[in-house]
Each structure stands twice: as C-alpha cells, then as structure tokens.
C-alpha cells in the first residue's frame, strides 16, 4: 500500500500543477539550453551543453480559473456549504478549468557540428504530463440541486470535458544559423504514452418536463465517450494486493515509458529572424503530432435516448397481461435504450499543439568592461549576439479541448556581465491578469543554473492565487568562442 501511495504521489507530481503549459520566462531566454525545447530555432550561443540527469529541467504549473483555494477554504466563519454553492456550483462556468502540468527532463545534451559550425544538434528524453478538468457546471448543479426545482431545464452533457496523460518523449533537434539574420530549427519527437484519458466533444442532456400522460417526464439523450489507454492495467495493478507493487509498479512505468506503451511521432519547428540591428522576431510551433493508442485501450460510451414517465397501466390493453416484474422491465428497457458500453477500439490522439511568438528589442551598449571580472566568469563567450537590455512581447497559444487558450506577455531582460541574466514578465491569461514572473540564469564557470517563478504577487497569499509555476534546472555548457 505504501508503494501504491508513493506511486500515486509520483503520478500526481508528474502531472501536477496545469493546463496552461506556458513557459513565458523560458521562451527565447537563450542563456538556458532548455529554451531549445520551446523554439528549435532559438539562438544557440553554445559549443555544447549537457543537462545534469533528472535535474536539468524540472517544471510544475498548477492553476484554476474562476476560483482559488482561499475562496472556499479560508477560515472566514461562513458556512462551507453556502460558500461551495455560491462560489463553486453556481460560481464556476463550463469554461473554467482546474488542473496542472509538469515536465521532468531525464537527460539532455547538445553539441555544435565540427564540420558545419552553423549547426547545433540537441537531443534528450523528458517525461511530461497534464491533467485538466473543465468544470462540469450543469452536472454539478444537477447533483447539488436535483431536478425537482429545475423542471424544463436541460442539464447539458457537453459540459463534461476532462483529460490527462503521462507521456515520455524522445527528441532530436537540428538548429541552423542560415545567415546572420535567420536561425531556424526542427525537432523530431517520438512519444511513448504511459497512460491517457480523455472525454471531450460530448453531447446530450437530461431534462425533466411535464409528462405527456403522467405528472413528470424524465428524458435522457446521451452521446458521451471516455477514451482511456494505459489506465486499465494501472488500475488492475493498483488493485491487486497479491503483487509486490514495489517491483511491479516501477516495472510497469518503465516499460510503458520506454516505448512499451502506445507510440506516436511529432515535430517542432521555429525560427529567429533578426529584423534590424537590434530587433528580433521569433516563432515556434510545438508538438504537431499524434499518438496511436492500440494497446491497453478501454473506452466507455453512453449513447442513446430514452424517456420515462414511470410504470404505465392502461386498460383494457393491459388487462391480464401486466408483468409482475414491470419495474425491472422498465429498468431493462431504459438501459437498452441508453446502454453503457465498453470497447477496445484503437484511437488517435492529437498532441496539444502550441504556438509561441515573440518580438524583442535590444538597447543599451554592451561593453566588455561590464563583464564580471570575477574568477568564475565563463570564458570565451561570444558577445556579438548579446544584449544589455531587452524588451519585448510574447504570444502563447495552445490547443485545448474547448478551443485555443492564449496568453500575452510583456518582458524585460537584462544581462549583468557574463554571469547573470534576468527576465521579468507580465502575463495576461485566463488564470490571471496580474501575473508577474522572474527568471534568473546564472553561469558559474561551465555550470549553468536557472530558476524561474511565476505569478509572484500570488505569493503574498498563496491560497488566494489562481496560478503558480516553478522551473529550475542545472546544465554544464560551453559557450561559443569569440
């Protein structure tokens, strides 16, 4: 049981935190090699880099739109049921989402081609996951209030949208400086899905109306599907007390992570275009790809339509031929009309494609004198692409079950010698209109360490915050020579 809990915590942490997956602090922050994962066409001022295994890139994000922990759990003396009804059941809309995302880089590296120094190759493996639960507004209100005082109201099943996954990604990227003004890049990915569940595009409703014959009529029209892969074997494993879970769970996880799960392929591409002497435009599109799920698949469907006005006895038709088991007949008939079925049909799932774009403007003269003369300063740094100050804006979009989610960021970047680079951001998205972030990249000799935190104002009172994220990592790298 202890292992089960440990494993669930691992999964929870892996998928912890959200759906936003916006990494505005890391995007185009090319002091950090992991910025290559957000734009394969980012400027690459390195000769080579190697991520410290399991520590080179760790990020978690968690968020909820429409409500924060403090809204319902504050010790404010208000009746909890009242708060829950007003702020959750009636306060959230079907577009509000609660969830998280996380990513851990297992290993990563990169090197500049000796034959073609304009090319920089990078590779690695990372695990990532997300869980997103859109608020099932109508179903929650049905559960909270019931149908008795909602005669005529259709409780929509299309409010039921949920999804989550854990996937391991193997990747290899090529970054090429095509000329002094353009750097472009491509990254190929192989996905090994550990598990996935998704329910979206549902339709139908439940409604209670005045009956045609009887007092009330309940009607269900349903077209609801939940697709899962990898979930069934996980649940079986967790539910089997006869197995040594300390052995079996890691084996299961490793097996499905290392190409033993469901496989897919994908592609990232992007470029950096120098517009003038001091301005740059970048764009990247990530995760154009799919996973084909054909093993350990179990899908659930609820499909059909039925109405019910209770048991009907109409004479003279039913004289003498009324079944004593008429109640069971009624239940059976309803279940036949709206069957809850399962199947193992293979399915494709598209990756959550992301778009990043930015414009940045450098200003302030860069001077070698401003270099830190401390003894840990990185040597041989090419200053031609460097900046002293930079300002700009970024756009992030991600495809989600209820359509694209977007975020807009304004940023300021500053280099302090060769040792330190700072990036401050202000971001607007559906979680917050007051999201201030700060990222720091520090170079000590060949060691690069970065730490980035989002929604800093939220730390004044964390439970009242709608969103929080944290990224950090440790790399060894060598900068391009002068």
């Amino acid at each position: 049981m202890r292992w089960t809990n440990t494993f669930l915590w691992f999964i929870a942490l892996w998928t912890a935190g959200v759906t936003a997956q916006n990494k505005q602090l890391l995007y185009d922050f090319y002091e950090v090699p992991q910025s290559l994962l957000l734009n394969p066409g980012v400027i690459t001022p390195y000769q080579w880099h190697a991520g410290v295994p399991l520590l080179s890139g760790l990020s978690v994000q968690a968020g909820s739109s429409g409500i924060a922990v403090n809204d319902i759990f504050a010790n404010d003396g208000i009746d909890f049921t009242t708060k829950f009804r007003e702020r959750v059941v009636n306060g959230l809309s079907p577009n509000d989402v609660i969830g998280g995302s996380g990513q851990i880089e297992v290993f990563s590296g990169g090197f500049r081609s000796s034959k073609r120094p304009t090319d920089y190759y990078s590779f690695g493996m990372y695990g990532e996951g997300f869980i997103a639960q859109y608020w099932p507004s109508d179903l929650a209100q049905l559960a909270f209030e019931g149908n008795a005082n909602n005669i005529g109201r259709r409780f929509q099943f299309n409010h039921l949208t949920t999804g989550g996954e854990a996937v391991n990604v193997f990747h290899f990227g090529i970054n090429r400086q095509i000329n002094n003004r353009l750097t472009a890049g491509l990254r190929f990915k192989v996905y090994s899905s550990v598990f996935e569940f998704t329910s979206k595009g549902n339709d139908g409703y439940f409604v209670t109306t005045q009956g045609e014959n009887n007092i009330l009529r309940n009607t269900v029209v349903a077209d609801v599907t939940m697709r899962t892969s990898g979930v069934e074997s996980l649940l079986e494993l967790l539910g089997d007390d006869t197995l040594a879970q300390s052995v079996e769970l890691p084996r299961w996880l490793l097996g499905r992570s290392l190409l033993g799960g469901n496989l897919g392929v994908g592609l990232d591409f992007g470029f950096t275009k120098r517009l003038g002497s001091n301005s740059y435009f970048t764009i990247s599109v990530l995760d154009i790809g799919f996973i084909y799920h054909n093993n350990d698949v179990k899908n659930y469907t609820l499909n059909g339509a039925g109405t019910n006005e209770g048991i009907e006895i109409i004479l003279p038709e039913d004289l003498g031929n009324l079944s004593v088991d008429i109640w069971q007949d009624l239940v059976d008939d309803f279940e036949e009309r709206i069957p809850l079925d399962t199947n193992a049909d293979a399915f494709f799932s598209l990756r959550p494609t992301q778009l990043n774009a930015s414009y940045r403007y450098h200003f302030g003269e860069y001077s070698k004198k401003s270099n830190c003369d401390c003894d840990i300063a990185p040597s041989g740094r090419n200053i031609n692409i460097d900046y002293k100050n930079a300002v700009g804006a970024q756009l992030f979009m991600i495809h989600r079950p209820r359509g694209p989610q977007a975020a807009l960021t304004a940023f300021y970047q500053k280099r302090l010698g060769n040792v330190l680079a700072l990036k401050g951001t202000y971001t607007m998205d559906k979680y917050s209109f007051a999201n201030l972030g700060l990222g720091v990249s520090m170079q000590a000799g060949p060691v690069n360490f970065y730490l980035m935190a989002d929604n800093l104002l939220g730390y004044q009172n964390l439970p009242a915050s709608n969103y929080a994220s944290l990224q950090f990592g440790l790399n060894i790298l060598s900068w391009n020579p002068n």
């Binding site: 010790n75 149908n147 209670t208 209770g310 401390c374």
Partner: protein
Amino acid sequence: MMKISSLCRPLWYIALLFAVSCAEEQDFDQFNNLSIIPEVSSSIFYFESDEGTINAAGGGTFYEQDFTFEAFNEPFVSERVVNGTITYQIENTTSKPIAASISFLDNAGTVLDTENFAIGEHPFPLLERQVAYGEGGKSLDILRNTTLIKVTGENLGDASSTSSERTPVIIIRSSATFSLELR
C-alpha cells in the same frame, strides 16, 4: 567591479520568495461540513381505465393488480433519503363514483401503507393529494421497504351508464420528490 554575491542576489530573492511566501489561514476540515442534499423528482406510475372496462367488470372491484416497484428500495435511494413527498392526481370523467387505493407492500407481501381515494362521478374536479414522508409525515421505512405496489379500483356506481364525455376514463397519476443526502 561586480561581486558574485551581488550577482546572486536575484537568485536568492526568488528562493526567499518561496521561503517567506504568505498564506492566509486555511481550514480544510471545513470540507467535512459540506452538505449535498438534492431534491429529485420522477413519476411513479400512471393508471388509466376507460369506462367500458369498468362496466364490463359488472360493478365492484374492476381492477386489482400488484407489481414490483423497487425504486424506493434501491440502496442508493433507501440509504440516502431524508424526506419525500408522493403526489397523486386523480381525474374521473366517467359517469360513476370510484374508490381507488394504492398500497405499498414489502417483499413478504405485507401491506406497509395504503392510500385511499374516493372520487365522485363526472363532473368532478381534479383530485390532488400530497403525502409527506420523513419528519412530520409518515415513516420513511414504508418507502425503504416497499418492493411492490398494489393498485385497486372499485366501481361505486352502476355498471351500465356511460358518460357524455368523448373518452370517459379514470386516471391516476403519481410522482415522487425525495431529498437525498448525498453527503
């Protein structure tokens, strides 16, 4: 000259942020006080008999039938119901007065409760009765143990007259509204 300590300062600021971040007092135990008691409604049964069938029975009891009804007995309902109301509507457009009774029976066929109705001949206004169960009403155990319903119709008039209505019938409608304590 820039010192390392000053360069590291922003890094420490972020680290410090996590160390000193504030949190208003939260009480997660409040969740135990969450009360979810929806009111759910559904029809129970519909009974209809034309006047010809009543006449054909020749007076007295023209219909008596019991049938299974396990909606109240389902564990989801019986374990959560805190109160309820059963509503009956009776409409009579026949030319004779009718007595109807609805009995709730348990598995052994024991009558747990009976609701009796006396309906005058047409024209007779719609009869509506609401029977409460739970606090201030009848015992909820009647519903919890009900697995059979018996419907009885008795002709209190003659067996030959016919109402001038186009389709003379006796109709019994019924529905139930329960409060279920889900949490």
